[in-house]
């Protein structure tokens, strides 16, 4: 341990107690990000301690990365520096929950699953069915900006995060929004914090709108020989009066992955995806059951699927769909484990352009001989994952070529593309945050306001922030 590291640890111990400071390199391995280790990790127990830690780091110009369960730390560009891991898992309390008001205020370190248990007691839930659900914390989920298949019906955190409290890069307490569902007082700074990956502040409190729990749901799956047909079912479903809870289109590769052994490890039990014919495109949707509406959903989905030229379709009841929904939710973790060097490109285009982009990516992946799997959300946001069979230079070159083409195609169709997940050693040669955008300049200015010293996860965010 270097002298600097040791003095850092000492100071951190002063703030949070030595029991809550880790400086043993072996234990610090758990805080590794892109093969970098911090000098110390600290687990503050209160907002004030966080503020103290940040103030100290700002004074010493030490780079701090806030983290929770650390499930999404591999996202983003490589850090410029990494001195202190700010572990927020001790801040894991529910601060306020008013089921009658459907509002909830929590600390960032609370695991989503534990929170879900509490909400379920009041027949409510948060529509944050995100990857790594079994361990992810609320704060990490919001900071990473990952979304859920339920986005189709409930939107993203942007739509139900009511307010935030956070510590700025100078250690100041700040807040925006409130704990009421409707509020237009002040600027919506909390929207900036969603997906900011800890670069603007350390989240200390999150306020959410909760939702009545879903009644029983059913899963509809249909199989198609072409992406076009599956997409035409999407279009029909969107234009119908039906209100689907989830809607995704799976490439043949995605069907294979989700029905495979890795997937079963994440979500065991029989799942409708297991029964999908291999080598074909699939349409996967969840819908609520409610009296006579159930039959109507079933009838109309089947009818629309037939009109769209499906080969096969099926409706599964309650017993099977948790697994199916779970595997879809865990698509990213599953693909990450399905190859030694998985690269995931997040693509977003207007839905009518999905056909074009999918044809193009399939073509380029095939030409470069890389296995791929795509899960395409009904709203036009897709996870296109490349699953090379080896983690070597040749694979890197192929993947890079494919990614370049995908990014260019998305840009051409006025869409967005980023590479949220990628092997660490490949990151430097990839456009992790996509092409430079004109508004990155404003973002850099924002960063400078929130974190003038530049100590919060430096380098990890878009535009070199």
């Amino acid at each position: 341990m270097t002298l600097v590291a040791s003095s850092t640890a000492t100071r951190l111990a002063d703030i949070s107690g030595s029991l809550n400071v880790i400086h043993d390199p072996e234990q610090l391995a758990a805080y590794e990000i892109d093969r970098m280790l911090p000098a110390a990790a600290v687990k503050p127990g209160s907002r004030d301690e966080i503020s103290e830690v940040v103030k100290f780091c700002a004074a010493e110009k030490l780079a701090v990365v806030p983290c929770g369960a650390r499930s999404n730390l591999s996202m983003g560009a490589p850090l410029a520096r990494y001195d202190v891991a700010l572990d927020l898992t001790r801040l894991d309390h529910i601060l306020a929950y008013d089921p009658g008001d459907l509002t909830l205020s929590v600390e960032p370190g609370i695991p989503l699953q534990r929170l879900a248990g509490v909400l379920a007691g009041h027949r409510q839930f948060l529509p944050l069915a995100v990857p790594f659900l079994n361990r992810a914390t609320v704060g990490g989920t919001i900071a990473a900006g990952v979304h859920s298949p339920l986005r189709q019906a409930y939107g993203t955190a942007r739509d139900f995060l009511l307010g935030l409290e956070f510590i700025t890069g100078q250690g100041a307490h700040a807040k925006s929004g409130g704990l009421v569902v409707k509020n237009v007082a002040g600027y919506d700074l909390h929207k900036l914090m969603i997906g900011a990956m800890g670069t603007l502040g350390v989240i200390t409190k999150l306020n959410f709108r909760t939702f009545p729990a879903l009644s029983a749901t059913r899963v509809f799956t249909a199989s198609f020989t072409s992406a076009e047909n599956a997409l035409s079912l999407r279009q029909r479903a969107v234009q119908s009066p039906l209100r689907l809870l989830t809607m995704d289109i799976l490439s043949p590769g995605a069907v294979e992955v989700l029905a495979g052994q890795v997937a079963a490890r994440f979500e065991a039990g029989p799942a409708p995806v297991d029964r999908l014919p291999p080598g074909k495109w699939a349409f996967h949707a969840t819908f609520p059951t409610a009296g006579t509406a159930t039959a109507r959903y079933e009838r109309e989905l089947k009818h629309m699927a037939e009109e769209s030229g499906c080969d096969w379709c099926e409706i599964c009841g309650d017993d099977r769909n948790p697994a199916s929904f779970g595997r879809l939710r865990e698509f990213v973790p599953i693909v990450l484990e399905s190859s030694p060097a998985t690269v995931v490109v997040k693509m977003s285009v207007r839905p009518s352009k999905l056909g074009g982009i999918l044809a193009s990516v399939a073509d380029v992946a095939q030409k470069n001989d890389v296995r791929w799997a795509a899960a395409v959300g009904g709203l036009g946001v897709s996870y296109f994952s490349l699953l090379p069979s080896a983690r070597d230079e040749q694979a890197r070159l192929s993947v890079e070529k494919i990614c370049e083409k995908v990014l260019a195609d998305c840009a051409r169709l006025s869409g967005n593309a980023t590479i949220p997940w990628c092997p660490s050693e490949w990151k430097s040669s990839m456009k992790i945050w996509g092409p430079e955008r004109a508004d990155f300049e404003q973002m850099r200015k924002l960063k400078n306001v929130f974190d003038p010293v530049g100590i919060l996860a430096p380098g990890r965010f878009a535009g070199g922030i």
Partner: protein
């Protein structure tokens, strides 16, 4: 009185927050106006900088050269500058007033860029305006300068039915967009009460809500991308018509920034599919508590109505007198509930809502059978404010938010405040989301009553905050509630927000004197009767 005024003047030449604090003390002592909590002694003088900046801006005269250049740029028809024309841009839908130095009507983004360039050159304040229906003074040129009216920038640029997206100029009227896409089975979901007149640009600035935002969300939930001109002259494209634009959510930040970041010149919005079926129920209650418990239980049963509105007894009587909808005059509250969606689902939900109402002792539940009956049931709600206008020379509509569970307590408190000041207060709520609109009736000719109205309104808002709520749910802060911001935000919060504003609007040329209490300190505090443009709030000019 002379004495007080002299002291005020002296103090304001001294400037700054400390001065403001002293001024407030005088106001209180002289009962000029009641300003809660702003004058907490420990507050740092974070307004000094803002004060001198605004002072400088105030000094910028609308010189002939600027007018000439504006006319050159836009044509003579697009520039108003004669006093009799400017008098008509002193107001918006709120009770605030201030006169601009000129009004311009751009038609294109390039026009707006040109206007901003000239404003920059002449250091003239710049304020955007849609239809001027706002309720917090957002479109009012508090410190004079150029009002940029977007009324003529009202073209729908693109309707992409397949992807349910529309691209519009800011001056497009909210309901005109919905009408233009109705034949495609779509609509623009945010529905402020002024939707037939207000513009989408204004909705974006204020992050407008409405009765149906309970299920559909407010404006920010429906905006995908913006084209904005910053006061520095820079043209920016924020967000994208495709979802999840990389980087910070600047679009989300801009929506609701009350025109203090940039002038919006183009807006890309989501269009929402019209529901297959809508069921409207109207339930009549003998006690307020029954009505509020009904709202709670509807929620508890897992139903999210598309709208859930409540009128209290006094409002019902005022409305009944005018619309003759057959509301019993002795009832305490009515609930108006919309459920929508799939036909089968709405049937079930409507039956369930009806059941909840009956369980909670609703005297009567009416269910609309068709669109005509639905309109009739909604008529009472839509005319609530007008009905108040018919019984009183003036009324002041407040906008506060509380947790829904605090509804009964809040109503009781409003009752107490009403008695304390001997003012009639009617209550119209978006009960479903805890957004209340107390209507305080007063006679503007009676100065004391007018001051009491302000005091009562402030007490109501203070109670909302105490109950865990907010000072505004949908009207915005503007120049109406800037002084109330410290009720919910600390100095550090406000100063961070101001720094964020500084990124886009470094010189404070854009919509100065809004949102932040730093705008105080430019002159004398006085209360004016409404006819004069007066505000039931403290104003300085």
């Amino acid at each position: 009185m002379k004495f007080a005024a002299q002291r005020l003047n002296r103090i304001h030449h001294g400037a700054g927050f400390a001065a403001l604090h002293a001024a407030l003390a005088i106001c209180r002592e002289r009962r000029i106006v009641w300003l809660p909590l702003v004058d907490a002694p420990e507050r740092r003088d974070y307004s000094a900088e803002g004060y001198s900046r605004i002072k400088a801006i105030c000094a910028a005269k609308m010189n002939a050269k600027l007018l000439h250049d504006l006319k050159e740029l836009l044509g003579p028809d697009a520039v108003l500058h004669r006093p009799e024309e400017l008098m008509l841009y002193e107001y918006d839908g709120s009770v605030e007033t201030a006169r601009p130095d000129c009004v311009v009507f751009p038609r294109t983004t390039a026009d707006v860029e040109g206007i901003v360039r000239l404003a920059q050159q002449h250091k003239a304040p710049l304020v955007g305006r849609g239809a001027g229906t706002g309720l917090s003074g957002g479109a009012i040129a508090r410190h004079g300068g150029i009002v940029t009216s977007f009324a003529r920038m009202n073209r729908i640029l693109e309707i992409d039915a397949e992807n349910q997206i529309a691209r519009v100029q800011p001056g497009v009227v909210n309901s005109d967009l919905s009408a233009a896409v109705a034949h495609l089975g779509l609509h623009f979901a945010p529905d402020p009460s002024s939707q037939k007149a207000c513009t989408i640009g204004g909705n974006v600035s204020e992050n407008s809500g409405g009765p149906h935002t309970l299920a559909y969300g407010v404006t920010t939930n429906h905006v995908l991308a913006l084209e904005v001109v910053l006061p520095t002259g820079e043209l920016l494209h924020l967000g994208n018509s495709a979802l999840d634009s990389p980087g910070y959510d600047l679009t989300g930040l801009f929506v609701g920034s009350e025109g203090t970041f940039g002038l919006v010149t183009e807006i890309t919005v989501k269009l929402t599919r019209l529901p297959e079926a809508v069921k409207t129920l109207l339930a009549i209650f003998d006690t307020i508590d029954d009505a509020t418990e009904t709202v709670a239980e509807i929620t508890a049963r897992g139903i999210t109505p598309a709208a859930c509105e409540m009128l209290d007894g006094w409002t019902i009587r005022a409305v009944e007198d005018y619309v003759h909808a057959g509301f019993p005059l002795d009832c305490a509250a009515i609930l108006l509930i919309d459920v929508d969606g799939l036909r089968e689902v709405t049937e079930v939900e409507a039956a369930e809502v009806e059941d909840v109402c009956r369980v909670h002792r609703a005297r009567e539940v009416r269910v609309a059978r068709d669109a005509r009956e639905r309109d009739l049931l909604w008529k009472g709600r839509k005319n609530a404010f007008g009905a108040a206008g018919r019984v009183s020379p003036s009324y002041y509509t407040q906008d506060g938010v509380i947790p829904r569970t605090k509804l009964p307590a809040t109503l009781r408190r409003i009752g107490e405040i009403s008695r304390k000041y001997n003012l009639q207060i009617g209550n119209v709520f978006h009960a479903g989301d805890g957004n209340l609109h107390p209507i305080i009736l007063f006679d503007e000719r009676n100065q004391q009553q007018f001051r009491d109205t302000v005091a009562a309104a402030d007490e109501i808002i203070a109670f909302c905050v105490q109950a865990g709520g907010s000072i505004t749910g949908e009207h915005g802060v503007g120049m109406e509630k800037d002084r109330l911001m410290p009720l919910i935000f600390s100095e550090a919060d406000l100063s961070l927000m101001q720094s964020v504003r500084g990124i886009f609007n470094p010189e404070g040329l854009l919509n100065p004197g809004k949102i932040f209490p730093d705008s105080k300190g430019c002159g004398e505090i006085y209360a004016r009767p409404r006819r004069e443009g007066a505000a039931p709030s403290a104003r300085q000019s």
